[in-house]
């Protein structure tokens, strides 16, 4: 009646992804059931205690509670799937409370034994499953299990993202800069109105500076470089404004045109500006200029969506890139070949055979021909 | 009439409350526990008895426990009426205590501590009712009584007992919790006071007649529930599942009498005969609004007697007898006439003595022979001669045979009925007397003149309402035959006895009390003699004098 393949054993322990694992397992079982098998799912809680230990009752109770919860969840999944509820059998058990379990090997033995007893052929492991303490020991467990006859699988669920460290050190320079900036901001808002505002401003700025100075900067601002950058930035703004207005008018014409003559493409440009603030500035400038929109910034590679050929041209000409280099690194750095000249451009969306990619043959040549959709999967994380 | 501040009324009530506490605490040592009961009952009786002379002199001992609600004090007042009831209750408590000890130990009952404690509280409440100086105080004790007796009714913890308990609570609370309180509220609203005043609260006489009528009806029905007035009597027969001493003291004396006593208070001290006579539609005549009450009482006493005829279960028959007899009292009160009042009030102790005897007899039969059904009692008089003799005396009193207490009181009522011009009620009384004989005679006959072997032929009255039609049907085995449906639930057979006469007929014991323990026999004989004394020398037995004092003090009622 049940082939070994159709039986699934799932070790459970409270974890962030347990709920999703249950969902996956039930979905999987339902799929198999749809093929005519009678699917059996066993949720087992492997005891980390022994029956005689003091406090084992409470531990056991906790395990039983968890199993009940899992069963409820499974019930929901089945209900939602709206199929014959008989096709999937769900059972729960607490195992191993008579043995001492030390290593992943012991666990694996225990699971295998249980699986054999009940004719189960497959183990699905919650990726966040942990054996005893706090460390994730899934890999060794999987390794051990793989030695045996069981098919093993890690449930493909989203794990909570682990973010990189945002926090860096606080230095006096960072602190002072932040303090000054926030103080200035406060005074602007308050309209520079007297002593009261001054006092409260200092207080507020102090709070901001102490709490946030460790996350606001990547490196120390320097007295030599920073003012120059600000100055060059001021020069940059009018140019940018001009660019914006011009391309805005172009885009406005396109949009208001009843024919809506657009030709959007996703392109990839490799740029040479420092990561962090300069890159952000460039990406934002590109976005601000109508017709181009930064979709993703991957270190030196910008994925830019362009609306009309006119905008694409401008992008590949690299004017903005040069300006940003100018703002951050000075005049010499601005002299640099355009992306098109460097061959750092690529149109990701092949528009089709009958419509060649608007005079950019070299773009395709460069980056190979991998097509658009699959790229979405790679990337961060 | 002078009022004297005293603690004796309070002491009388408290002594028994304290005893209840002591009983609970000494639950592990039965002898000590029973000692408390006896001690308390004796001292209570002493206290009450010590107030009798004062009551006869017209002095009233008063304990004021302060204000419950503005305008109403928590007032204990030992006036003659109160002393009448209190002395009765406390006297019979002594008797019953002994009997209870014998009975409970004889049957090896569970929960004896609870039983005795509840008993003590019940008596305390009864005495409290007796001494209550106003409607609210009486209400308080009335409710305490209901609560305290509930454990006694449900004592057996069987489904039947619980059902009876539920019914009991529902009825008495409908009467007490709902109607009495409502009536009290009404009276307070109408008169601004609820203190008892001989001859009635003056302000009530001048109040809005409709509302006053309503108040009277509500109060009368409220107390009437406990007094077993039809159609609110259902709880009483059911409550007979209780142990017999309970049935005896409480359902013949304390509980039902407290209902009757309440009616007496309402008639005499809240509204007063004059006010009542003035209330109600004109065509009610002299009796005024009391006429319906009298009519109800008359109907109850007749119908209950007839129902009693049909009951084979001894205690149930006695229960219906109680319902019927209580209505004598109510009728006496409702006739609003001096002699009738005397008769009615006197019937309170008279009936108490007699009915107690009867119940005790039933109880002793149950303990000794596990027999509850009259049809199974053939020849039992040979087995328990003293018991059945006492039974015969009391039954005679019930039927109004002279020389027993019942005769005196009934005589007064009949006289009163004629004097008040309500001859029809006198007729009812006489009819009921005949019915009384009809339902008691078979028991006596069965006990003394039947032999166990031919129980089929017992001379039950085969009237349109009475008789047991199925008895005639076949001549099979008597014991088998007579075990009717109630049998199984109601007795505590521990496997060794099944009720009914033994195969070879009852064994004969001597006449010197070998039939049972003196713990039970003594009380029976005491109660029986008391009813004889009250029948032979009513004045010497104090009660009649107290009653005459009460009625004499009522303004506007000739003595």
């Amino acid at each position: 009646m049940t082939t070994p393949e159709s039986g699934i054993i799932v070790p459970v322990k409270r974890s962030a992804t347990l709920r999703q694992t249950v969902g996956y397992v039930i979905g999987d079982a339902l799929d198999r059931a749809a093929d005519g098998d009678v699917a059996v799912v066993h949720f087992v809680s492997v005891a980390s205690w022994r029956a005689e230990d003091p406090g084992s009752d409470r531990e056991r109770q906790r395990a039983v509670d968890l199993l009940e919860q899992v069963e409820t969840w499974a019930g929901f999944e089945l209900d939602e799937a709206d199929t014959d509820s008989d096709t999937v059998t769900i059972e729960t058990a607490v195992i191993g409370d008579t043995d001492y379990l030390f290593s992943p090997e012991d666990y694996a033995d225990l699971l295998t034994e249980y699986a054999e007893q009940h004719g189960l052929g497959r183990v699905v492991v919650d990726p966040e499953y942990s054996l005893v303490g706090h460390t994730t020991l899934v890999e060794p467990l999987e390794f051990e299990l793989a030695q045996r006859d069981l098919a093993i699988e890690e449930a493909p669920v989203d794990r909570p993202t682990r973010r990189g460290r945002l926090v860096s050190r606080t230095t006096p320079a960072r602190f002072l800069t932040l303090f000054g900036t926030s103080m200035l901001f406060y005074q602007v808002l308050g309209g520079f109105s007297g002593l009261f505002d001054l006092v409260t401003g200092v207080a507020t700025a102090l709070i901001v500076a102490t709490t946030l100075s460790s996350v606001s900067f990547y490196r120390d601002p320097t007295l030599r470089e920073s003012p120059k950058r600000v100055l060059r930035g001021v020069i940059y703004v009018p140019y940018l404004l001009y660019e914006i207005v011009v391309s805005n008018l172009v885009v406005a014409r396109v949009i208001l045109d009843p024919r809506l003559d657009i030709d959007p493409r996703l392109t990839k440009v490799r740029v040479f500006v420092g990561s962090g603030f300069p890159l952000t500035t460039l990406a934002n400038s590109i976005t601000l200029t109508p017709g181009t929109l930064t979709v993703k910034a991957d270190d030196q590679e910008l994925y830019v969506h362009s609306l009309v050929p006119f905008a694409r041209e401008g992008l590949f000409d690299g004017a903005l890139e040069r300006w940003v280099r100018f703002v951050f690194y000075g005049r010499e750095a601005a002299r640099f070949p355009s992306p098109r000249d460097r061959g750092d451009t690529e149109v990701l969306q092949d528009p089709g055979v009958d419509e060649p990619a608007n005079g950019e043959p070299e773009a395709v040549a460069d980056g190979g021909v991998d097509c658009s959709g699959d790229d979405t999967q790679e990337g961060d994380q | 009439m002078t009022e004297i501040a005293a603690v004796r009324p309070l002491a009388a009530v408290l002594v028994s409350f304290v005893a209840a506490g002591l009983i609970l605490v000494s639950g592990r040592r039965p002898n000590l526990r029973e000692a408390w009961t006896i001690l308390a009952s004796v001292s209570m009786f002493g206290l009450v008895a010590s107030m009798v002379p004062a009551a006869l002199d017209g002095d009233i001992l008063v304990t004021n426990l302060g204000t419950i609600v503005p305008g109403i004090d928590f007032l204990l007042r030992a006036d003659p009426l109160g002393v009448l009831f209190a002395s009765l209750a406390s006297l019979l408590w002594i008797v019953t205590s002994f009997y209870s000890i014998g009975y409970m130990r004889g049957l090896d009952e569970d929960n004896q501590t609870r039983y005795f404690a509840s008993f003590a509280v019940s008596v305390a409440a009864a005495v409290g009712i007796a001494f209550s100086g106003n409607l609210l105080t009486i209400f308080v004790f009335y409710e305490v009584l209901s609560v305290a007796t509930y454990p006694l009714v449900a004592h057996d913890e069987t489904e039947e007992a619980r059902a009876a308990g539920r019914k009991y609570l529902a009825y008495t609370f409908f009467g007490g919790g709902v109607l009495v309180l409502a009536g009290t509220t009404l009276v307070y609203w109408l008169a601004g006071t609820v203190d008892f005043t001989p001859g009635g609260i003056t302000a009530l006489a001048n109040a809005d007649p409709t509302a006053a009528t309503l108040a009277f009806i509500v109060l009368a029905v409220g107390f009437g529930v406990k007094a077993g007035l039809m159609p609110l009597h259902q709880w009483l027969p059911e409550a007979m599942v209780a142990p017999t001493p309970v049935s005896g003291l409480l359902h013949a004396v304390a509980v039902v009498k407290s209902g009757v006593f309440g009616i007496a208070r309402v008639v005499l001290d809240v509204f007063g005969p004059e006010t009542l006579a003035a209330l109600g539609p004109d065509r009610f005549g002299d009796l005024g609004i009391a006429l319906p009450l009298a009519a109800l009482a008359a109907i109850t006493l007749t119908v209950a007697s007839i129902i009693a005829l049909r009951k084979d279960h001894l205690k149930r028959r006695l229960a219906y007898s109680t319902i019927s007899q209580l209505s004598y009292i109510v009728l006496g009160l409702a006739l609003l006439e001096g002699d009738a009042l005397i008769g009615g009030l006197l019937h309170i102790p008279a009936h108490a003595f007699m009915k107690l005897t009867l119940f005790f007899c039933a109880g002793i039969i149950h303990v000794e022979t596990h027999t509850d059904y009259i049809s199974e009692m053939a020849g039992i008089g040979k087995r328990m001669p003293l018991t059945m003799l006492a039974f015969g005396v009391a039954a005679a009193g019930m039927a109004g045979i002279p020389l027993v207490a019942g005769f005196v009181s009934k005589w007064y009522i009949v006289i009163g009925a004629f004097e008040g011009g309500n001859g029809i009620f006198a007729g009812v009384l006489l009819l009921s007397g005949i019915l009384n004989i009809a339902y008691f005679w078979p028991i006596v006959y069965q006990a003394f003149f039947e032999t166990p072997d031919d129980t089929d032929e017992k001379p039950l009255v085969e009237g349109p309402y009475g008789g047991r039609d199925r008895v005639v049907a076949d001549g099979g085995d008597a014991a088998d035959h007579a075990v009717d449906d109630h049998h199984a639930d109601s007795d505590h057979d521990d496997g060794h006895h099944h009720g009914g006469p033994p195969a070879g007929g009852w064994e004969t014991r001597d006449w010197r009390g070998g039939e049972s323990t003196w713990f039970m026999l003594g009380p029976i004989l005491t109660a029986a003699s008391l009813s004889l004394i009250l029948g032979v020398v009513p004045h010497t037995a104090v009660f009649l004098r107290i009653v005459e004092t009460i009625v004499g003090n009522l303004p506007g009622v000739m003595g």
Partner: protein, 521 residues
């Protein structure tokens, strides 16, 4: 000096609520001592305050405190009179009792005790504030903390109950706020006294004023749990931890009802009722229905805490009826019944808590025969239960008497009848409990105590029996968990207090007469 009592009463528990958490960083169980010390202090202040407003002292019978020194219509004022004194006393006494009870059982986290103190402070604030919007703030503090405390149980159903309560409670508070808004639009002030005089000047027939009262009434009906709007209550009371059920059932609805009395009679005044017979009739009708249906629903339940919850619906129906009767007597009864009901429910829930933690009893059937095992607790539950029915001598009788008398005086025969009949209904469900406790053999162990006297009761301090060490009935008691003595003691004291208060009508009258004199000039 004495008017500083008012802000102190409110501020002390609210501020002290920080300490359990703060000290919790350092000590594991700082919560209980802090809460206890604060509650005792509050209780002492409450007594002092009651003394200050009672006619027995020579002081003013109405304390007014302008917060931060800004006088009334501009600032917020706190007002303490006899009526609020009664409430303040009740709150502080129950708080202390619950804390004693909670020492061994209570959800043993510092957050719980913080919540507890916040709830106490919020309730005191509701009792003392003289400002309509300030009342809303305290109403929400109380609500918020109640939701959290209820959900602090391990049971998932408690969270569900709390969420339901949150929806209905917040809706109720919002409706109240709308009502206040209407009155505010009509008068331009938020101070209660000020508004009372403005309303009187405006006339009570103004649709805005009528609507204002309507909203306030419905809002409070939600908070109090009057029949059609009671649905949050059973779940909330049933699944909350025992300590919390006791505390909340005793005080939260009670204080809301108090606030309704305050607003109805101090702000809208009795003249408003007189001018709007339709509203009065509606109140009486809803109240009567609540009494009857609440009792009937209680009858249908099997779980004990649920029975008590529905019983609250009925009892508060009675109080609402008293409010609608516009009778001084009835209102007097309502206040007494508020106090009485609070004490009785606290006793019952605590008693149920003791028995459920000792014997795992949840449903009425589980209570079979427990009287033998735990005579003291059962006895006290019986006492409180009978008091709830209104059996004298108990505070329950007193409340019912006055409400009924008020109904009769007002000529509302229907209401009077309903109140009397409700006694019977109450008896029916309390009777079930008593029957189970005393007259039913436990289903599992056969023949416990058949041995006659020996198994009957214990003489060496039956508290031990409640604690599960009673050797004589040990046969069926393997699963008994010991219960701390002080829990039983608290139950006893509270139960006896319901009896003792029977004689306290005079004290109530003394405190309330000046207040009611103002309400019913």
């Amino acid at each position: 000096m004495s008017d500083a009592l008012l802000p102190l009463l409110i501020a002390i528990p609210l501020l002290a609520a920080v300490f359990p958490l703060l000290l919790g960083l350092r000590f594991d169980s700082a919560g209980w001592p802090v809460a206890m010390a604060t509650s005792l202090l509050v209780a002492a202040l409450a007594v002092r305050f009651t003394w200050a407003v009672s006619p027995a002292s020579s002081g003013p019978q109405r304390l007014v405190h302008d917060l931060a020194g800004y006088p009334a219509p501009y600032g917020i004022e706190l007002v303490g009179d006899g009526l609020s004194a009664i409430l303040v006393l009740l709150i502080s006494v129950v708080a202390v009792a619950v804390l004693i009870y909670a020492r061994t059982t209570g959800p043993d986290s510092n957050a719980f005790y913080s919540g507890f103190l916040l709830l106490t402070g919020g309730l005191l604030g509701m009792a003392l504030t003289g400002d309509l919007f300030n009342l809303f703030v305290f109403l929400e503090i109380v609500g918020l903390v109640s939701y959290a405390l209820i959900a602090s149980s391990d049971d998932g159903r408690a969270a569900y109950g709390a969420l339901k309560y949150l929806f209905l409670g917040t809706t109720g508070a919002s409706l109240y706020l709308i009502g206040v808004g209407y009155a505010f639009v009509a008068t331009g002030t938020l101070n209660m006294r000020d508004m009372a005089s403005e309303l009187a000047a405006l006339g009570y027939g103004d649709p805005l004023v009528q609507a204002a009262f309507g909203f306030i009434l419905v809002g409070f009906m939600l908070k109090i749990a009057i029949f059609p709007l009671h649905t949050w209550q059973p779940d909330a009371y049933t699944y909350a931890p025992d300590t919390v059920s006791a505390f909340i059932s005793a005080l939260v609805s009670t204080t809301a009802a108090y606030a309704l009395i305050r607003i109805a009679y101090d702000v809208f005044t009795v003249d408003f009722f007189a001018a709007n017979p339709l509203i009065t009739d509606a109140v009486l009708l809803v109240a009567s229905v609540s009494i009857v249906v609440g009792s009937l629903l209680a009858l249908l339940q099997t779980e004990l805490k649920r029975i008590f919850a529905y019983s609250s619906v009925a009892q508060f129906g009675m109080i609402l009826a008293a409010i609608g009767l516009q009778s001084e007597t009835a209102l007097f009864g309502a206040v007494i019944h508020l106090v009485g009901h609070g004490l009785m429910k606290a006793t019952l829930f605590m008693g149920a808590g003791v028995l459920s933690s000792a014997y795992g009893a949840q449903t009425v059937a589980d209570y079979a025969g427990l009287a033998k095992r735990a005579p003291i607790t059962s006895g006290m539950m019986a006492v409180a239960g009978l008091a709830l029915v209104g059996i004298p001598p108990s505070v329950g009788t007193l409340g019912k008497w006055f409400i009924a008398l008020g109904a009769v005086e007002a000529g509302s025969w229907g209401v009077a009848a309903v109140i009397f009949i409700s006694t019977l209904l109450t008896l029916t469900y309390i009777g079930r409990l008593l029957e189970a406790l005393y007259f039913t053999q436990p289903a599992t162990d056969d023949d416990t105590g058949v041995a006659g006297d020996t198994g009957d009761a214990t003489d060496d301090g039956s508290i031990v029996a409640d604690g599960g060490a009673d050797s004589s009935t040990a046969a069926g008691l393997d699963d008994v968990v010991p219960v701390a003595t002080e829990r039983v003691v608290v139950v006893v004291v509270l139960a006896l207090s319901t009896v003792a208060l029977f004689g306290a009508a005079g004290l109530f009258a003394e405190l309330l007469d000046p207040v009611f004199g103002r309400f019913f000039q």
